[in-house]
Symmetry: C2
Subunit: 344 residues, 2 copies
């Protein structure tokens, strides 16, 4: 018997199709795995090939003074980088050119690793870079919205193996973000008597417990009650804040631990699945908004979007959120939190 | 130089990334094609295997009395089919069980064909079946919304080769449809002084002409100004109507011609790409709505959704809509409109 659950945050109905439901193991990546080398001479992100990328905008170094992380403009930016924004309107047709920012965060010099397997200080580096680049992007007055995301694996849309994420600043405010914000505002003012919907959901998830994957002082990771797809994961900060860029150092350390822990559980439990993650956040100007709450969404690429989803925006999730969370909780993890990486 | 265009109907900003732009030929399906036989003994949709599907809900026969099209309940329905709908609410958690309808439209007895290559009367059959099943679905008082769609090819999410489409009746009103409707209402009442946004867009596209693929007395097919992805196509009825189910016989005949023509151009021009199409329509109760206009969206599966699209709802289209339309207009088509299929 299937059930239809409401995702109160996205406003989407999700069909949890238990008759079609699959065991967690059924989502394990089937395709052949290649063993990658730690260094690839032709990879533009490997050390020694720094001249194959545009000059660095941000860099973090290791104890020996070698780069540990680099941010560089995306050579194949989706946006024109002319300084001037031109806006045109012909009746119903509106367009705009110029003014987008698009950078790549090269997360590590090592070609064949992944966030799930990195030492903790390295994951912290990535989050520090996210924070600094987001702050910097928003200083550009042409930028309306900044999104940070990672495409891991070919199925998730990446074209380069070397571990990297991306940050994009758009000169327009995305419609989907506006809708999400509208939903948050409506819930804050009209439905919840002035309580943040995200704070309420987090409280509810922590009380239920059955969909929690892990938590620490500053963050909780869970499969939402109405997860849009199998193993769809949210990481919420416990402190109410609408802007990721104001994350504290202590929170970065807690987030690095939990993010790596969750990605490791996916890596081991589902055999290194392709995934995307995104950081949903308002700008520093909107950081004090009472109605919005920044968070990370992780979406393993284990199923496909087709006509039904396209036509309705409804999702069919063939995994029971409570079972997926239990499965991930039970993945054996032996972590050394002192930053010497994972032992397994 | 890339530009960002506003899709006024969906409310989405689309990055037309001309620096990344590809020639139409670059979207041609590369993967090896298998020659399929016209009849597959193990296919549940092939003639002789009627007992492998649930009993027919609707059938159209040919001159010899054999079935030409069958509608059957989906054996793997996404919805429970209990008669009673149960609604539950525990704080923020809302769920509902029962009451969904899900049928498969087996479009032809022939295993190895596709809409693009069917004789015209056969395409008309498919549209007649859509109309009759939609009317029938909406007679079920539990159903809030009906969506008709087709997944063509593995990349578009189909698991069975035999030509078929699907119709789903949901006991909830989908959030995305509600948002789209809200946008339509807002435009009708506040922006356009009481003119249907869709009628205005259609008029604009016909006047511009450069994005039109084809038109006849009742319909026009075009690549929207802010197409969300390469070769994203809309077919709009010229007569304002919010509900597909009230399409006339003359309109069915005109739509069959144009739909087959467009699908043929895709088939020949891009070498049988995987695609989805959906019919966006209100219910018969909403047929007279002045602000909404039913239409068909065709989305070839030639690119991938990744973190940026997920996080913003913005799209990056690497094809220039005007060039894609020109490419499709120039695909040589020699059609016999008398219903004897396509000659090529």
């Amino acid at each position: 018997m299937s059930e239809i659950r409401l995702n109160v945050i996205t406003g989407d109905w999700v069909v949890i199709a238990t008759e079609r439901a699959k065991r967690p193991e059924d989502f394990t990546k089937k395709k052949e795995k290649r063993d990658l080398p730690p260094y690839v001479p032709t990879c533009p992100f490997c050390p020694g090939n720094e001249d194959k990328t545009p000059p660095e905008t941000y860099v973090l170094k290791d104890a020996e003074g070698k780069w540990a992380l680099r941010c560089v403009p995306n050579k194949f930016s989706a946006f024109s980088n002319e300084l001037e924004i031109r806006k045109e309107r012909f009746g119903l047709k509106q367009r705009l050119t110029g003014g987008g920012l698009h950078e790549v965060i090269i997360e590590t010099p090592i070609h064949n690793t992944t966030t799930a397997l990195l030492p903790l200080p390295h994951v912290e580096n990535i989050l520090v870079a996210y924070r600094e680049r987001m702050l910097s992007f928003y200083k550009d007055k042409r930028i309306e919205h900044v999104i940070i995301f990672k495409n891991h694996g070919e199925g998730a849309g990446t074209s380069l193996e070397h571990p990297h994420s991306q940050i994009v600043g758009t000169p327009v405010f995305p419609g989907q973000v506006m809708n999400r914000l509208g939903e948050a505002i409506r819930n804050y003012y009209y439905v919840n008597f002035g309580d943040c919907l995200y704070c309420l959901v987090l409280k509810d998830e922590l009380r239920d417990g059955i969909r929690i994957i892990g938590e620490n002082e500053s963050f909780a990771a869970f499969i939402p009650y109405a997860a849009l797809s199998p193993f769809h994961i949210w990481i919420f900060p416990k402190r109410h804040s609408a802007c990721f860029a104001f994350i504290t150092d202590k929170e970065i350390s807690d987030l690095a631990f939990l993010l790596r822990d969750v990605l490791f559980r996916l890596h081991k439990g589902l055999s290194n699945p392709d995934y995307n993650y995104v950081i949903r956040s308002l700008s520093p100007n909107g950081a004090d908004a009472k109605y919005f709450h920044w968070y990370i969404a992780i979406i393993p690429k284990v199923t496909q979007i087709a006509g039904f989803e396209m036509g309705t925006g409804m999702f069919i999730n063939t995994a029971m959120p409570e079972e997926s969370a239990k499965f991930l909780r039970e993945v054996p993890v032996e972590q050394d939190n002192k930053g010497n990486g994972l032992k397994f």
